[in-house]
């Protein structure tokens, strides 16, 4: 996938390698790098995902890193239907309607 100058993109860069992690971090965290993801506008004329590029962020900083996504979408959502939660809610609605007086 490619991006052109001025397009909204996400880059990725390693801030600290596994060997550079702070002494205080737990073992599992020490084994992985500290990574940064940041979004902004591509400054190169044309780049491919995976290439090292520079962006201008909304605050006006220039940051370089590997191009990771082009026009990234926000994909977090409302989640699945959770039966355990709906059952609980339905019990409460039943109480409100006066249909459940014996729950203690």
């Amino acid at each position: 996938m490619s991006a052109i100058k001025g397009q909204w993109v996400q880059i990725h860069r390693v801030i600290l390698t596994a060997g550079e992690r702070a002494p205080s971090v737990p073992e599992d965290t020490k084994e992985v790098p500290l990574e940064l993801r940041v979004r902004g506008f591509l400054l190169e004329e044309k780049s491919e995902v995976g290439e090292t590029v520079t962006i201008e962020t909304p605050s006006g900083r220039k940051v370089s890193g590997k191009l990771e996504a082009v026009e990234p979408a926000h994909t977090h959502n409302f989640g699945d239907y959770i039966p355990e939660l709906s059952e609980a809610g339905n019990d409460l609605t039943r109480w409100l309607a006066g249909g459940d007086n014996d729950e203690r």
Binding site: T29, L85, G89
Partner: protein, 475 residues
């Protein structure tokens, strides 16, 4: 060009901080371990009228206080005769970016503007990011929000992703880091690179901004019920929410109102662990922040933390993740208020507490937060399941196991709290001091008496107990 290595940047921490918060903390240091907290707050903060003026300029505050009549009725249906306190809720979700954090951000950002900074930076994965972004735009400042967001597999907590979306929507830059306390290192680098203001959650401004919340509670409570509330429950993480609210209550003269901190119990999960990071459903308001910040407030990103929970906390209660999800459902079903789960932490404890109190007592729950994609029980529980967490119906006090199992109560009668003895927190505070090798001088005992909300005699007792423990550990 300055050395950007971890060690070099951390070594420049003091000077970077001084340049970025506009407070000379050293002026407030006293002999021994003490510093003049009240003078720091007085010099660098504002009177309540000024705080409210600043907040009214950006539409912050004056949120409704709503009586939860159906929930109170539900509580009374399972309480002994004559019991079941009235519960009121301060609907902070009606602030511009959807949480009480707008109060904190409003004063910080206003100060940044006044001091001539071109932009602000905040390190936060929570609602505070959206609040700082929103307030910055209103004051025409640039804004960077630094989040701890992803684990090493690139999976982001839905709630944090939602916060990133919100910040972006306001036009802020969002720097998303993977798990680890070295976020602070990158934060320092950014402060140095940009020369922006550090909109820390822990400056006097960020605390002063919440004082209006406590103040409003007293005013509204007097209008609604003709007196001050008996209890105010505040969700406790870094300590600012509780500190600012309590200071506001005192400013309004409510010195008999009991202030109770509430956190979600996440004991056993390591906050800096890459593996544990996505095994929790609450990104703040939990014991992973609540306990460390209560017992060692100066662990924050400024030299002296203005959020000092033990100065104001009368009791500290813990609830489980499953209970808070249940109560979030309850608030929607019984009161017609759909709000974010994390903001309902203290409401959960309020329901359990109300059962123990006579009908004529009043409890104010001092916050709600906005809800939406990522910030819903269904989104959090879906994510929990994807990360191997078991979700069951059952008694949360027995079944809950942070990082392994979430128990949604089978009935509202199962909503309960676990109490942390505040004296244990006071002992831990003293233990932290001793670990740092502090040798206490006479004047320190007055400072500690204020820090720990107890008498100087009690402080001496606690210090003696802790010293004996520390000595026997050494033997």
């Amino acid at each position: 060009m300055k050395d950007r290595s971890y060690e070099a940047v951390m070594a420049r921490r003091k000077e970077i901080m001084k340049a970025s918060v506009g407070v000379d903390y050293e002026r407030y240091e006293l002999d021994g371990i003490a510093f003049d907290y009240e003078r720091l707050m007085k010099d660098t903060s504002y009177p309540i009228a000024a705080i409210r003026r600043i907040q009214s300029e950006t539409g912050v505050g004056n949120t409704p206080l709503i009586e939860l009549k159906n929930i109170t009725r539900l509580v009374r249906s399972i309480s002994k005769s004559g019991y079941g306190a009235r519960i009121f809720l301060k609907d902070e979700a009606t602030n511009p970016s959807g949480s009480f954090k707008d109060r904190r951000a409003s004063v910080s950002v206003s100060r940044a503007k006044e001091l001539g900074y071109k932009g602000v930076i905040a390190a936060t994965s929570g609602n505070y990011g959206a609040a700082v972004a929103s307030q910055s735009m209103k004051r025409a400042l640039k804004c960077i929000v630094v989040q701890e967001c992803y684990d090493s597999r690139g999976r982001g907590q839905p709630e944090i992703l939602e916060k990133a979306r919100a910040c972006e929507a306001y036009g802020a830059e969002v720097a998303q880091l993977s798990v680890g306390p070295e976020l602070f290192y990158y934060f320092l680098l950014l402060l140095e690179e940009t020369g922006f203001f550090n909109a820390s959650l822990y400056t006097p401004y960020a605390i002063a901004g919440i004082e209006s919340l406590g103040y409003e509670i007293v005013e509204q409570s007097n209008t609604l019920i003709g007196r001050n509330p008996d209890y105010v429950l505040a969700t406790h993480a870094g300590g600012g929410n509780l500190t600012g609210t309590a200071r506001g209550l005192l400013r309004a003269g409510a010195d008999k109102t009991k202030v109770i901190g509430v956190s979600v119990d996440l004991s056993g999960l390591h906050m800096a662990s890459d593996r544990d990071f996505n095994r929790k459903s609450f990104t703040t308001g939990h014991t992973g922040f609540g306990i460390p910040f209560a017992v060692l407030p100066d662990r924050s990103d400024v030299p002296r933390n203005a959020a000092r929970a033990l100065r104001y906390m009368d009791r500290y209660l813990l609830v489980t993740q499953g209970e808070v999800f249940y109560v979030t459902e309850m608030l929607a079903r019984l009161e017609g208020l759909q709000r974010g789960p994390a903001g309902n932490t203290s409401l959960t404890a309020a329901i359990a507490l109300a059962r123990e109190l006579p009908e004529d007592k009043t409890i104010v729950v001092q916050e709600t937060e906005y809800t939406g994609a990522g910030k819903l029980p269904s989104a959090q529980l879906t994510f929990a399941r994807e990360n191997g967490i078991e979700i069951v119906r059952g008694d949360p006090i027995i079944m809950d196991s942070p990082g392994k199992r979430i128990a949604i109560p089978e009935s509202y009668s199962q909503i309960a709290y676990k109490e942390v003895d505040v004296n244990d927190l006071r002992r831990s505070y003293i233990r932290q001091l001793m670990k740092q090798g502090a040798a206490l001088i006479d004047s320190d005992f007055d400072f500690l008496s204020a820090e720990l909300k107890t008498t100087a005699t009690k402080v001496r007792e606690l210090v003696k107990e802790v010293s004996n423990d520390v000595d026997s550990e050494r033997r």
